[in-house]
Amino acid sequence: MKLIIPLLLLVTISGCQSFRLKIESSDSDRQNQDSEISPDQDDTSSYDDDDSLDIDDEEEIVTEEPQKDPEIPPAAKSLLKKADDERSLQNYDRSEHYVERALRISPESPYIHFYYSQILLEQEKNSLAESRAFKALSLCEHDKNLKKRLWQLIAISRHREGDNQGSINARRKAEQYSH
């Protein structure tokens, strides 16, 4: 009986400690939240050494033309079809040209901007792809799946540019939209 109270106290204190640790780690998550422009401060203390971007993550990005968005008018869709045909032949300049024409018709479609960012990524124009992805994000209201894919794309482009910390941050952002 005499031991129960100290034991209880011990358990309680241990429980509080672990709870405090959880709060601290989520606080540091918020501090290290992606700033979008530059990599966060080089605070790697909260990250595991194995927490690096798996190169296989690149497989997650599959370039798809945004035909399914009902808000894109048929005229823009025709142009996107041509863009995709050119892309499949690796005529990227022509592909971009058709995408830009589609964007003149639907400049606010995050899907078309996303598609464009994928074409840029395929050509390893990584920083341009990232900028374009951020543009898509600024236009994306509800589609969590799209937001996730955009952050994944940003993660890949940063990884390719050697910005591993930025890439990790982007991947974490992507994970937020998985739930």
Partner: protein, 748 residues
């Protein structure tokens, strides 16, 4: 004696051979050079037609007339259209673009509430591009203009007709036609004066290329010799092809019209291949004297000669009797001169040339026959021109000397320059103020200063309080003091950053600038695209920095696009004369600012338009159109500025006097007025909400910067980057409606 004569003969032959050699060299080098010398042609953006496209019926009709489309009820040929109320049927012309050849197509559509519906095309396309309006060319120094045509593009009947009329022995002679010379000699002797020439096509070509129009024996002898040399060096095919492109066929202002290709456009607004018999005959008729037989000035004379040519075509079995009879009956109908090739927009063209010269040299531009496709929207350019003229004429009544102005319009998302005016007279090619007038920008600099602050959310938000108190800055060079004032001559203990920008408080901005420091502000300005040297002086905070309207557009482009820097460009694509793609100017985005900070500054600029110095815009704009902007007025009102944007268009307007004298205008009463009227006619879209998870909106008590509630007084609904929201609640007194309810409804 024999020896003397022999010597003279020898010397004569020697001189003759030297002359021949000289003429040979002159002819072959110039012929080769001139033969392929083609000016660059510059086009506006092609108008695309598709379902849901926003365009008014009057705008569509304007574009069609600018393209030289003829109104036709039966619409059986390319380049015609008909209209029944708001329904159009258009027979488009084909055109070769950078990416593909757009075929000729028959299109029908209806426009309802300025939106295309029931779009149908004969070729079942979802989208049809009209051929683009030609807005000018880049010419060689001798002002010649031509549209190259090849032998294989020339209808056989045309070639036969031309030869039959001008030089029926062309394919048989060696440059000179002795029978033609003989005939002309007889006619001239009989009449006692020079009436008829016996020139062959080769001789005419030589004359066009190298010689003057003087009718002297020496000139004729030179022409004859060179014609023979030409026949010796070049094939009949090459000679006739060059002739088709070289022959002088009229004048368009300063520009000489050379060749049948260009003449077809100039007189009929058509491609050469589409000419009908009566049209082709008229052009052939004009060869003898383009001024004398000018169909616009001398239609009777032109018709008489044209019918003569039709007769020759018939008698040489080139056309049937029926065709000849039908062609003779046709009236002389040429398009009005304004639709023909001309540099229509000299200010915009200056920008095009400037940007082209960054990559090409002038010689290539003016001789390689490049086709330059620009981003110019001729409809908006025209509207802007009319509006600027109208507004300045109105404002002039209160001035003792005339005002001048400049307008630059660009697309928010791409940086494409869609209109540019460098003066109140769009047609005059003079000082281009849009590109060259460096003027202090005044309060236009303020968004950059506050953006610098908002980029530090840990320190500043839109609700942050800053002093708007008197400023006294000593000039260390001469010991004088700079004591600027607010526009209303008032001071305030504290104001929010939001209010400081919305109401353009000078003193608050200076305090803000001094707190931030020159280096940080300079970084912001550089990221916004300013390349000029930034002076580290307090006057910078009130816009002593001098910029052109084009440079201001560059700066505001980054803000309008959501923090993405895009290069402002007038050119879209360049193709070679044979249609091969050369270059495409892509729309590259470069993220320069966090979208969150841009969201905040845009919100304040939206407030400027609803509550602040820009609110008079809504005397002209629909209340449902959300716009953002900033007015600018410099000392003594020497410059009236406005920079503002909608969801799709950014516009910068400047008004002032070239001699820097004061005006009666502020940014609100002058430049904003012009901007608002242009935007009202532009089919602009509303600024869209930026969807960011990291922004929250809160009701804030403006005088204290603390959280409040929507039914309290002196509140505004402001965005904050998450984690930077105010701490503390303001007491809610005098329960009433907030003046910023529109924000609430927009952002919910």
């Amino acid at each position: 004696m024999k020896k003397f004569l022999g010597g003279v003969l020898f010397i004569s032959i020697f001189i003759f051979l030297i002359l021949v050699a000289y003429l040979q060299i002159k002819m072959s080098t110039s012929f080769e050079g001139k033969k392929w010398s083609m000016p660059a042609l510059v086009y506006a953006r092609p108008l695309e037609l598709y379902d849901q496209k926003t365009i008014s019926p009057s705008d569509l009709e304007y574009e069609l007339y600018q393209l030289g489309y003829q109104y036709s009820l039966n619409g059986k040929s390319e380049g015609t259209f008909s209209r029944d109320g708001n329904s159009f049927t258009i027979f488009t012309r084909g055109f070769s673009f950078w990416d593909s050849k757009e075929p000729s197509n028959r299109v029908s559509l209806t426009i309802s509430r300025d939106t295309i519906e029931n779009f149908q095309s004969h070729l079942k396309s979802d989208l049809v591009r009209l051929d683009p309006i030609k807005i000018g060319g880049i010419y060689p120094g001798h002002h010649e203009d031509r549209l190259l045509i090849k032998n294989e593009d020339t209808p056989t009947s045309f070639l036969k007709g031309l030869v039959a009329v001008e030089d029926k022995d062309f394919y048989n002679h060696f440059g000179l036609s002795l029978s033609s010379i003989g005939r002309a000699l007889i006619v001239n002797i009989k009449s006692g004066k020079y009436i008829q020439g016996g020139s062959t096509i080769s001789q005419q070509l030589v004359k066009n290329f190298f010689l003057t129009n003087e009718r002297t024996l020496i000139r004729k002898a030179q022409e004859a010799l060179m014609a023979v040399l030409m026949e010796f060096n070049y094939s009949k095919k090459e000679i006739i092809e060059t002739y088709l492109n070289e022959i002088y066929l009229g004048q368009n202002g300063k520009r000489a019209i050379h060749g049948f290709g260009l003449a077809s456009q100039h007189y009929f607004g058509k491609n050469f291949k589409s000419l009908q018999v009566h049209e082709a005959s008229l052009l052939i008729a004009m060869v003898k004297g383009p001024s004398y037989y000018n169909p616009r000035r001398h239609p009777k004379r032109a018709k008489k000669r044209r019918n003569l040519v039709i007769g020759v075509l018939y008698s040489n079995n080139i056309i049937t009797e029926k065709e000849a009879l039908s062609a003779r009956k046709k009236p002389i109908s040429v398009i009005p001169k304004t639709n023909s090739v001309l540099t229509k927009y000299p200010d915009y063209m200056q920008l095009v040339k400037k940007q082209l010269l960054e990559e090409y040299d002038m010689e290539d531009l003016s001789s390689e026959g490049l086709k330059i496709f620009t981003n110019l929207d001729p409809i908006l350019q025209h509207k802007s021109d009319l509006q600027l003229k109208k507004s300045l004429k109105k404002f002039d009544k209160n001035e003792n000397s005339p005002l001048e102005g400049a307008v630059v319009l660009s697309k928010v998302d791409t940086g494409e320059i869609i209109a540019l005016l460098g003066s109140r007279d769009d047609r005059a090619s003079g000082f281009n103020r849009a590109l060259k007038a460096n003027r202090p920008i005044g309060s236009l600099i303020k968004p950059a200063i506050y953006l610098t602050a908002l980029n530090q959310p840990e320190s500043y938000t839109l609700a942050s309080q800053i002093p708007d108190t008197a400023v006294n800055v000593e000039n260390k060079n001469d010991g004088t003091f700079w004591t600027p004032k607010n526009f209303d001559n008032e001071t305030r203990e504290q104001v929010s950053i939001y209010d400081a920008l919305v109401h353009s408080y000078n003193l608050a901005t200076i305090h803000m600038g001094l707190a931030l420091g020159y280096s940080k502000i300079e970084e912001t300005l550089i990221d916004l695209g300013i390349t000029k040297k930034i002076p580290h002086l307090p006057s910078l905070f009130l816009g002593s920095l001098e910029m052109t309207p084009f440079e201001v557009t560059e700066m505001y482009q980054t803000i309008a696009s959501g923090g993405f820097k895009t290069h402002l460009k007038s050119i879209h694509t360049v193709i070679s004369r044979d249609g091969s793609p050369i270059k495409r100017y892509s729309n590259k985005l470069e993220k320069k600012f966090a979208s969150n900070s841009i969201h905040l500054i845009q919100h304040a600029m939206l407030g400027t338009m609803r509550e602040g110095t820009g609110r008079s815009a809504y005397n002209y704009l629909s209340d449902s159109l959300n716009t953002a902007g900033k007015t600018g007025t410099t000392n003594d009102q020497r410059d009236s500025w406005f920079a503002g944007f909608t969801g799709n268009i950014l516009g910068v307007v400047w008004i002032g006097k070239d001699d820097y004298k004061p005006t009666q205008l502020t940014g609100s009463s002058g430049a904003l007025n012009v901007w608002s009227n242009i935007i009202a006619q532009s089919h602009s879209t509303s600024i869209r909400k930026n969807f960011s998870d990291e922004i929250t909106y809160n009701w804030v008590h403006i005088p204290t910067g603390k959280l409040s509630d929507r039914f309290c007084s002196d509140v505004s609904y402001l965005p904050f980057i998450k984690g930077s929201e105010p701490i503390g609640q303001a007491p809610c007194t005098n329960i009433g409606r907030s003046i910023s309810n529109w924000f609430h409804s927009f952002f919910q």
